[in-house]
Point group: C2
Chain length 272, copies 2
């Protein structure tokens, strides 16, 4: 299975935890991990390569061609790297037909193959709509990016990509033009672009299985009439997503899944 991460040096620690959790939870699987890295040293690459070698996973660096960004507007506070996941069709080798993009602030706790083998039909992406807290802002999102036609607002942290379709339908210049036209409205640029331009071509997957917002335990529990308790999450959730500013690798973090994350931090350090 092909996995894509895009990250800068500040995210190496969580990326290691994510990759270790992916491999430990998926015994017998062969992973090809593609990293589109920003500002990595040789040591950084070697660090991730060595970790993956423990699990017989292959490490590939994705070469970023400066010329792709000649038409790209720069946004305040955002680096060029925000475009990387949207440019996957361009960046990745032609022989790849499918890849799973993951944000580094995630923890894999289950089997990834059923997700990876999702029948995507003609869709460009498969992703999860974050309901609940996020639903409150949906009317705003709808006005902001005119996504009336879609059912909600997709979180861009987990994206299963249909690369063949993406190569024929997603063009960098269209993305750059969209960003230029909407720059005043963009709040989370990569996610806003994804929804604004491609929302109608995204297959919606179950967020509580494949992109579980770790902040929303109580809401998921209540909306399931108490069924989706901690045991349910441990049995059904494949990807936990530590959304928001508070991150589980920070010392003050007090979320419900902090113990599990901390355990994997320790465990990851032992695979070195």
């Amino acid at each position: 299975m092909n996995i894509l991460l895009t990250l800068d040096r500040n995210y190496i620690l969580p990326a290691r935890v994510l990759l270790a959790s992916l491999c430990i939870n998926n015994p017998g699987e062969q992973f090809d991990v593609y990293i589109a890295a920003d500002g990595f040293t040789d040591g950084d690459h070697e660090n991730l390569r060595r970790l993956l070698a423990h699990f017989h996973a292959r490490y590939h660096t994705v070469t970023i061609d400066e010329s792709w960004f000649s038409g790209a507007p720069t946004l305040r506070y955002y680096s060029r790297a925000m475009y990387y996941r949207l440019l996957a069709g361009r960046m990745l080798p032609e022989h790849l037909h499918r890849i799973l993009y993951l944000d580094p602030d995630m923890l894999v706790t289950g089997k990834i193959r059923p997700l990876y083998e999702t029948d995507m039909g003609e869709n460009l992406y498969a992703a999860c709509i974050h309901r609940g807290i996020v639903d409150l802002s949906t009317p705003v999102n709808r006005i902001r990016l005119s996504t009336y036609e879609t059912e909600g607002y997709f979180n861009s942290g987990m994206l299963l990509m249909n690369l063949a379709r993406i190569r024929s339908l997603v063009f960098p210049q269209v993305i750059f033009d969209y960003v230029k036209e909407n720059r005043a409205l963009l709040v989370l640029p990569d996610q806003d672009v994804l929804n604004g331009l491609y929302g109608r071509h995204i297959l919606a997957l179950d967020e509580q299985r494949f992109n579980y917002d770790a902040r929303k335990y109580r809401e998921y529990l209540l909306s399931s009439s108490g069924e989706h308790d901690r045991n349910w999450v441990m049995e059904n959730t494949v990807i936990l997503h530590f959304c928001g500013r508070k991150k589980p690798w920070h010392s003050g973090y007090r979320g419900r899944f902090s113990m599990l994350y901390r355990h994997y931090m320790q465990l990851t350090d032992r695979y070195d």
Copy 2:
């Protein structure tokens, strides 16, 4: 490293979780696992053997010789298997000098080698005294088994065994005689015998690192002035022990470490 488990069929599920957690948390280590099993079918043996093979760990069955028990008194509610860990010196191959006995209701969350390589001196065993709740009952324990000389009451769930010394000092008939003489006083027979007969020859190890009573999170936290919080446990504890009647593999269990245990239950099933 040599690991000993003694169990009957009812404990196969937690034993699998324990062994998977041991191996996953100790990458690069080679384990030789000895199982003194009661009433196992061929399928049960194969089940554990297959699990261990995933981690390149070796599975050994320990043959129990009926004749060893000819002088053994039987106690109401207790099977012969309660003697197994006390008879380790007799049961295990002569070439083994050291072994780590573990109760099946444990979860390994850290590196086991520093524990395994403890300098035991002339001691027979290294184990942990369960203080806190258990300290309240220490005066009773002391009267019960006249262990005034020792510092406390050792929990028999984790026993690092100095097999060479045990072979020369621990004799089955002495154990059986002790049980006969004290049968009215024995509450937890194997543990009582261990403390009553051998308490002075046990090296005390840090219970919060090597035999952490999962029921006692609040007490450990309070007695450490708040230092031993969940992060401390994830960074320092090597063995979590789910003592008591409520077990984390039961559906109603609601302990603080239930999520971690449930995660390992799921994970263990994937190594099959």
